[in-house]
C-alpha cells in the first residue's frame, strides 16, 4: 500500500481540521525551507517532505504539490528562488515565484533546476489530493477521489472511512467508499464478511483484492473469495464479448470510412484511384493545419476541419481527375498506374513542404477518455465518435446517390454513358462532381483518422490496400456492400486477433478475401444485369 | 438406371459394346434439340419454355423482334449462359448443359457474334489460323507449326471471303462488312457441324449480302446452319424453314410464306413496325 502510516495520520489532522486550516499560511522562511528540503532530498525522503507540506496546511500547499506533480516546480540556480514554471517549451521558460506568485518573466533553461518527481511520488500526491477532495463540496470530485481511494486505503484512513460513508449523501460515492473500505478489510484484515461487499463489483482493485484473498492460507476466506470471483467472472465474460464486438465495429467503421470514397470513385465511376490513400492523408493534414490556425481550440478546429478536409480533398481529387484520369477514360489499368504515380508525388510533396515527421494532432477533451458502461466495460470515446461519424457519412452518401439529381445523373452515366449524354446530361460535369465527392469523402476519413493514428506522409499507404479489399469484397458499385464488408472484416479481424495475433489475423483476413474473390468474383453484392458485363 | 436394371434390360447397350461413332450422334435425326428451356435475368424472362429442333444439315432462319431472346438462345447453346430449367442436346448424346464454351466449340458448334468480334491486333491470316480446327491444348498449340496444307486451306477461305489481299494486315483496320466476312471465315475454319450465325449481313452492301446468302445456302447440307436475322429480304432469299421467336418462346414455325401469313406473327410485327 502506497501511503505510509505517518502520512495518513498527518492527513487525518488536516482532513478533520481542513476548513479551519484553509486560511492558515506558514511564513516564507518556513516555506522556503520546506521547498528546499523537497528540492534537495532523495526520492525516498521526498515522501516525508511532501507529507510535511501537506500537513503544514498552508493554502499554497496544494498549488505547490500540484506544480510538483506536474513537474513544474523548480528552483533558479543563481538566486535559489523557488518558481512555478508556466510554459516549459523552447530554451527560455516563463516562470512565476512559488511563494509570492508574482511573475518573473522568462528565464533560460540552463538556469532552472526542476525539482524531480517520479511516478510513485505522483501517485502518492494523487491520493493525498484525493483524500483532501473527499471533503470537497463538488460531488464529481468526491466521486473521483473516492474511486481513486480504492486500493489505496491504509489503517489511519480506514478508521475514518465509516464516518465519511455515514456522512456521504451521494449513493455512488458511498458505494465507492464502501468498496474502498471493503478492499482494505479483505486485504489487510482478511475480513470474510467484507468479501460479500465486493462480490458484485467489477472494479479491478476489488478483483485484485479478491484474487489475493483467494491465494490466502485462510481456507474459508479463500473459498469465499473464489466464490465472489466466479460471480464476477460471469459478468466479465459478457462484458468482454461486448468489448470485442465494439472493437470490431470501430475497426470496421474505420475501414468503411477509408473505403467508402473509393466505393464511389472505383465502384460507381470504375476509376482505380491509387492516390485515394493520399487524399485521406490530405484530410488528416487539414485537421492538423486547422489546429495550427486555431491554437488552444482543438475541438473547434476539429469540427471546422470536417468541411475543410472535405473541400481540400475534393479539390485535390478534381485536380487529379482533370489532369490525369480524364485522359485515361476506359483504360482502368493505366489509370491505376498513373494515379499511383500521383500518390507518390503527393507523399513526397508533404515530406518536403511540411515535414517527413509525424504531426501532432490534439484530441479535444470531449473526444478523449472513455464512457464507463460499468467498471469492466468502458467504450473509448474517440472510437465511438468515429463509428458515429462513419454512419453519418454513409447515410449522407446514400441520400446523395438516391435522392438528389446528381445521384440520378451519376447512375445514369454509369449505366450508359452515351445514352445519358444524348439525354442532355453533361457526362464530364458528372464525372468531376462524382470524383470530387469520392475524394471529399476520403478527406473526411482523413479527419477522422487523425484522431486515431499517425498524421504522417505514410498515412495513406497504410489504408489503400485495405480500402480496395473492402470495396471488392463488398461488391463494386454497391455502397451497402461496402458498409457491410467494412464492418464484417473489422469484426472478423478483431475476433481472430486474440488467438491468432495481430499479424496472423491480418494475413488470414487477406487470404480469406483472396479466396472469397475466387468464389464470387463480383463480391458480396454483385451488380446485376448488362451494366455489370465486361 | 441401376446396374441391376441394366443387366436385366435386354435392350441395353453397354458403352464398351457400342459401335464406335462420330462424336456427334445424329442417327436419330436432330442435331440440336432444346426442350422447355427457360432463363430469366432478375425476374425478366428472357427465354420462356423454348422448344426448338434443328435437323442435321438443315438451314434454319430465326426471326423475331428485339428482346425476343434470339441472342440469349445462342448464349445458352454455346454455354455462355446456363438456363434455369430445360435441357439442351447436341445430337442425341451430348448434353450441352454439362459443358463449357471450349468443349462445345471443339464438339463442332461455331458461333458468329451479333457485333463482329475478331482479334484486331492479329492479322487476318492469324485470325483464321487460330480458328482452324486443330488440337487446341496448350503444348500442341505452343509447338504447332504452319504446315503447307494448313496454309492452303487458310488461303482457300481467304479467297472465299474475299480478303486475300488484306491477308497480312491487322484485322483492326477492316471495315465492318469485312469483319463480318472474316468472322464467317473463322467459322468455316472451325469446320463446325452446326453454325450459329447472328445477324451476318448487318452493315453489308447488296452484293456482299448476296454472296453471304450463297455461302450460307452452299454450307447447308454439309453442315447445319442457324441464322438469326432482322433483314426480311435476306431471310426470304435463303430461308427454307423459319422460326419466329417472341418473348422468349416459339411463336410460329414453317416456310417463309406460312409464317408471314400467320396472323399472330403479323400482329407482333405490325405491333413492332407500324
Amino acid at each position: 500500500m502506497g501511503i505510509t502510516g505517518s502520512l495518513s495520520r498527518l492527513l487525518l489532522v488536516c482532513l478533520l481540521l481542513w476548513p479551519a486550516m484553509a486560511t492558515a499560511q506558514v511564513d516564507d522562511s518556513e516555506a522556503q525551507q520546506l521547498l528546499t528540503a523537497l528540492a534537495e532530498s532523495s526520492f525516498a525522503e521526498k515522501k516525508d517532505v511532501v507529507n510535511r507540506i501537506a500537513g503544514s496546511g498552508d493554502e499554497r500547499a496544494r498549488i505547490w504539490l500540484e506544480a510538483f506533480a506536474a513537474n513544474k516546480l523548480a528552483r533558479i540556480e543563481s538566486t535559489g528562488q523557488f518558481v512555478i514554471v508556466l510554459s516549459n517549451r523552447g530554451r527560455d521558460w516563463d516562470v512565476e515565484s512559488a511563494t509570492t506568485g508574482e511573475s518573473l518573466g522568462e528565464v533560460s533553461r540552463r538556469d532552472i533546476d526542476t525539482i524531480r518527481v517520479n511516478n510513485s511520488l505522483r501517485s502518492e500526491l494523487e491520493s493525498i489530493l484525493s483524500v483532501i477532495d473527499l471533503k470537497s463540496p463538488n460531488e464529481d470530485s468526491r466521486l473521483t477521489a473516492a474511486r481513486a481511494l480504492r486500493g489505496n486505503v491504509d489503517d489511519g484512513l480506514a478508521d475514518q472511512l465509516p464516518d465519511l460513508i455515514e456522512a456521504e449523501t451521494a449513493s455512488d460515492v458511498r458505494l465507492a467508499l464502501t468498496e474502498a473500505l471493503a478492499i482494505y478489510q479483505v486485504e489487510e484484515q482478511g475480513d470474510r464478511s467484507a468479501v460479500a461487499v465486493l462480490s458484485g463489483s467489477l472494479n479491478s482493485d476489488a478483483r485484485a483484492a479478491l484474487q489475493n484473498a483467494a491465494r490466502s492460507d485462510d481456507p474459508a476466506l479463500a473459498a469465499a473469495a473464489n466464490k465472489a470471483l466466479e460471480s464476477i467472472e460471469q459478468k466479465l465474460k459478457f462484458n468482454r464479448a461486448a468489448e470485442t464486438l465494439y472493437f470490431g465495429l470501430s475497426l470496421g467503421s474505420v475501414l468503411v470510412l477509408a473505403a467508402i470514397g473509393l466505393a464511389i470513385t472505383f465502384g460507381v465511376m470504375g476509376v482505380i484511384n491509387m492516390a485515394h490513400g493520399e487524399l485521406i492523408m490530405l484530410g488528416a493534414y487539414t485537421t492538423w493545419g486547422m489546429q495550427q490556425l486555431l491554437p488552444g481550440q482543438p475541438g473547434l478546429a476539429l469540427i471546422l476541419s470536417i468541411p475543410a478536409g472535405f473541400l481540400v480533398a475534393a479539390l485535390a481529387g478534381i485536380a487529379i481527375e482533370r489532369t490525369v484520369i480524364q485522359h485515361l477514360k476506359g483504360r482502368p489499368l493505366e489509370t491505376l498506374l498513373a494515379t499511383f504515380g500521383v500518390s507518390l508525388i503527393l507523399q513526397q510533396l508533404v515530406r518536403t513542404v511540411i515535414s517527413p515527421l509525424n504531426r501532432t494532432v490534439i484530441t479535444p477533451d470531449w473526444m478523449s477518455g472513455s464512457v464507463m458502461i460499468n467498471e469492466a466495460l468502458s467504450l473509448t470515446l474517440n472510437r465511438m465518435y468515429v463509428i458515429g461519424f462513419a454512419l453519418v457519412v454513409f447515410a449522407g452518401l446514400m441520400l446523395i446517390m438516391r435522392k438528389t439529381r446528381l445521384g440520378l445523373e451519376v447512375r445514369a452515366v454509369t449505366q450508359n454513358r452515351a445514352m445519358a449524354r444524348s439525354m442532355g446530361i453533361k457526362a464530364t460535369k458528372v464525372d468531376i462532381l462524382t470524383f470530387g465527392l469520392g475524394s471529399g469523402v476520403a478527406g473526411l476519413a482523413g479527419v477522422a483518422l487523425s484522431q486515431i493514428t499517425n498524421v504522417g506522409p505514410n498515412l495513406g499507404q497504410n489504408y489503400i490496400i485495405d480500402s480496395f479489399m473492402v470495396v471488392v469484397f463488398g461488391g463494386v458499385g454497391n455502397l451497402w456492400g461496402t458498409l457491410l464488408a467494412g464492418l464484417s472484416l473489422g469484426t472478423i479481424n478483431q475476433l481472430l486477433e486474440p488467438w491468432a495475433g495481430a499479424v496472423l489475423a491480418k494475413i488470414l483476413v487477406l487470404v480469406f478475401i483472396i479466396l472469397f474473390i475466387q468464389k464470387r468474383p463480383k463480391g458480396l453484392f454483385p451488380q446485376k444485369g448488362r451494366a455489370a458485363e465486361g | 438406371m441401376s446396374i441391376f436394371e441394366q443387366l436385366t434390360d435386354r435392350d441395353h447397350v453397354f458403352e464398351f459394346l457400342a459401335p464406335v461413332q462420330s462424336p456427334v450422334d445424329v442417327r436419330h435425326g436432330p442435331i440440336l434439340y432444346l426442350e422447355d428451356v427457360s432463363v430469366s435475368f432478375d425476374g425478366f424472362k428472357a427465354i420462356n419454355n423454348l422448344n426448338l429442333t434443328i435437323d442435321d444439315g438443315e438451314l434454319r432462319c430465326i426471326i423475331g423482334p428485339n428482346g425476343a431472346g434470339k441472342t440469349t438462345m445462342m448464349d445458352i447453346i454455346t454455354g455462355k449462359t446456363r438456363p434455369d430449367t430445360g435441357s439442351v442436346w447436341f445430337g442425341s448424346r451430348h448434353n450441352l448443359l454439362t459443358m463449357n464454351e471450349p468443349d462445345i466449340a471443339t464438339l463442332g458448334i461455331g458461333r458468329k457474334f451479333q457485333k463482329p468480334t475478331v482479334f484486331e491486333a492479329l492479322t487476318v491470316f492469324e485470325n483464321l489460323e487460330l480458328a482452324m480446327a486443330a488440337d487446341k491444348r496448350i503444348f500442341p498449340t505452343l509447338t504447332a507449326i504452319m504446315k503447307a496444307e494448313y496454309r492452303d486451306r487458310i488461303d482457300e477461305v481467304l479467297e472465299l471471303i474475299g480478303l486475300k489481299d488484306l491477308r497480312d494486315r491487322p484485322a483492326g483496320i477492316l471495315s465492318h462488312g469485312q469483319k463480318q466476312w472474316l468472322e464467317i471465315g473463322m467459322l468455316l475454319m472451325q469446320k463446325p457441324r452446326l453454325l450459329l450465325v447472328d445477324e451476318p449481313v448487318a452493315g453489308m452492301t447488296e452484293q456482299e449480302m448476296e454472296r453471304t446468302a450463297e455461302l450460307l445456302t452452299s454450307l447447308a447440307g454439309k453442315q447445319s446452319v442457324v441464322v438469326v436475322e432482322h433483314d426480311m429480304g435476306f431471310v426470304r432469299s435463303i430461308a427454307r424453314q423459319v422460326t419466329v421467336l417472341h418473348q422468349g418462346s416459339v411463336l410460329a414455325e414453317g416456310t417463309m410464306d406460312q409464317v408471314s401469313n400467320d396472323p399472330e406473327v403479323i400482329k407482333v410485327y405490325l405491333g413492332e413496325d407500324a
Partner: protein, 373 residues
C-alpha cells in the same frame, strides 16, 4: 521448333547481339584495364550492372503476362522474392559453421532466437541442385495455385491486379513474422560463398554478372519463343477478346495459367540471381510498391515488345541510382511523374517511339482493347 524460331528473327538477333557485346566489353574492361584508367569498370559497377540485368529479366517476365496476356500483375515482386529466398536459404546453408556462433547447421538468426533445430522446410537447401529447383518451383507453385483459382473463376482485369497486390502484401506480412523462420525483417544476409566460389571476390562477381546476362538471354528467347508461337497469338487473342477465344475452342484459363506460371518462374530466377549480387534478401522485396514499380519499367519501355521491358528496367534503375545520389528528395517526384507521363502521353513507351520510325508492330494493344483486357 518453338524455341529456335526466335533465333531467326532479326529483332531477337539484334537484342542478343547487343546483350552479349555488352557482357564481353564490360568483362574485358573490368579484367584488362588498369585500375586508374578512365575506362576501367570497377567491380562495384559490375555488380550494379548485374543488378540491372536481374531487374531486366524480371521486367521481361512481367511484360510476358501484361503485354501479351493483358494480365496486369501487381504481385510479381512476390515471385521474384520467393526465388530470392530459395537462393538465400541455399547461401545461408553454405555458411555452415562459419556463422558467428559457429553452429554447424543453424543460421545465426535461429541461434540467437534460440531455435532448437532446423525447420523442416529448410532441409535440402544445403544441396545446390535442390535449391535451384526450388528457385523455379516455389514461385511456380504459388503462381499455379493462385492462377488456377483466379483464372478458373475468371477473375481478370482490375480485380486480378488488386488481389495480386493483396497476395504480395499478405506474403510480406508473413515473411516479416519471425516465427516463419526466414529471418523476419532482417531477412537472410552475410553470405559467404556460392557453389564453392567466394562471394567476396571480384571474379565471382563478374561470374554472377555474366550468368545473369546469359539468364536474361535465355529468358528472353523463351518468352520470344512463346509469343511468336501460335500460343502467343492465342494469348493475344485472350487479351483482346476472351469470349471469342473460348468460342474458338481454346481453354482461355489454361493459356493464362501456363503463361502466368512461366512468367512467375522467370521472375524467380531473376530473384535468385539478384540475391547473391546484392548480398541480402528481406521481406521488403514483397512490398506492393516494388511490384508496381516493375510494371512502370515495362510501361516506360513499351509493352508487348519484351526488349522494351529490358530498356525500361535498365533506364529507370539507372535513373534511380543517379537521382538518389544527386537529389534524394526529388527521386519520388521523378518516379511519380514518370508513372503519370508515361501512361498519359506515352502509352506505347519508348519502344513505341522507336516503332514510329519502323512500321507499327501488330501485337500492340490499342486503348480500345485495353478496356476489355
Amino acid at each position: 521448333m518453338w524455341l529456335t524460331r526466335p533465333l531467326q528473327e532479326r529483332s531477337t538477333q539484334v537484342f542478343l547481339g547487343v546483350l552479349f557485346a555488352a557482357l564481353v566489353v564490360v568483362s574485358a574492361l573490368h579484367l584488362f584495364m588498369p585500375e586508374d584508367s578512365a575506362l576501367y569498370v570497377s567491380s562495384y559497377t559490375v555488380t550494379l550492372l548485374g543488378k540491372y540485368l536481374c531487374y531486366a529479366l524480371l521486367a521481361v517476365a512481367v511484360d510476358l503476362v501484361w503485354g501479351y496476356l493483358g494480365i496486369l500483375s501487381l504481385g510479381h515482386g512476390a515471385f521474384f522474392a520467393l526465388g530470392g529466398y530459395a537462393m538465400g536459404m541455399y547461401l545461408m546453408r553454405q555458411i555452415g559453421d562459419r556463422g558467428v556462433y559457429g553452429h554447424p547447421t543453424l543460421p545465426d538468426f535461429m541461434v540467437f532466437l534460440n531455435w532448437q533445430e532446423l525447420p523442416w522446410y529448410w532441409h535440402g537447401f544445403d544441396m545446390a541442385w535442390f535449391a535451384f529447383i526450388m528457385v523455379l518451383l516455389a514461385p511456380g507453385l504459388l503462381a499455379l495455385v493462385f492462377g488456377f483459382l483466379a483464372f478458373r473463376s475468371r477473375v481478370t482485369g482490375v480485380y486480378l491486379s488488386i488481389i495480386t497486390q493483396a497476395l504480395t502484401f499478405a506474403l510480406m506480412l508473413a515473411f516479416f513474422r519471425n516465427e516463419m523462420g526466414f529471418g523476419g525483417n532482417n531477412g537472410l544476409t552475410d553470405f559467404k560463398d556460392i557453389l564453392g566460389f567466394d562471394l567476396r571476390t571480384d571474379a565471382t562477381r563478374l561470374g554472377l554478372f555474366i550468368a545473369t546476362g546469359i539468364a536474361l538471354a535465355i529468358g528472353y528467347v523463351i518468352c520470344r519463343g512463346i509469343v511468336t508461337s501460335k500460343l502467343g497469338r492465342v494469348s493475344v487473342a485472350c487479351r483482346d477478346a476472351e469470349a471469342r477465344t473460348r468460342f474458338l475452342g481454346y481453354r482461355v484459363e489454361r493459356v493464362q495459367l501456363f503463361v502466368f506460371v512461366v512468367s512467375a518462374m522467370l521472375a524467380g530466377v531473376a530473384g535468385a540471381l539478384y540475391v547473391p549480387q546484392v548480398g541480402i534478401i528481406n521481406p521488403s522485396e514483397f512490398s506492393p510498391l516494388f511490384s508496381i514499380e516493375i510494371v512502370v519499367w515495362v510501361a516506360l519501355g513499351g509493352r508487348a515488345t519484351l526488349y522494351g521491358a529490358v530498356i525500361g528496367a535498365i533506364l529507370v534503375n539507372y535513373a534511380k541510382t543517379v537521382f538518389t545520389g544527386i537529389m534524394p528528395d526529388a527521386w519520388l517526384f521523378a518516379l511519380g511523374g514518370l508513372f503519370v507521363l508515361v501512361t498519359v502521353f506515352l502509352p506505347k513507351g519508348i519502344a513505341g517511339l522507336l516503332q514510329k520510325r519502323k512500321k507499327a508492330e501488330t501485337t500492340e494493344p490499342t486503348p480500345a482493347q485495353e478496356a476489355t483486357a
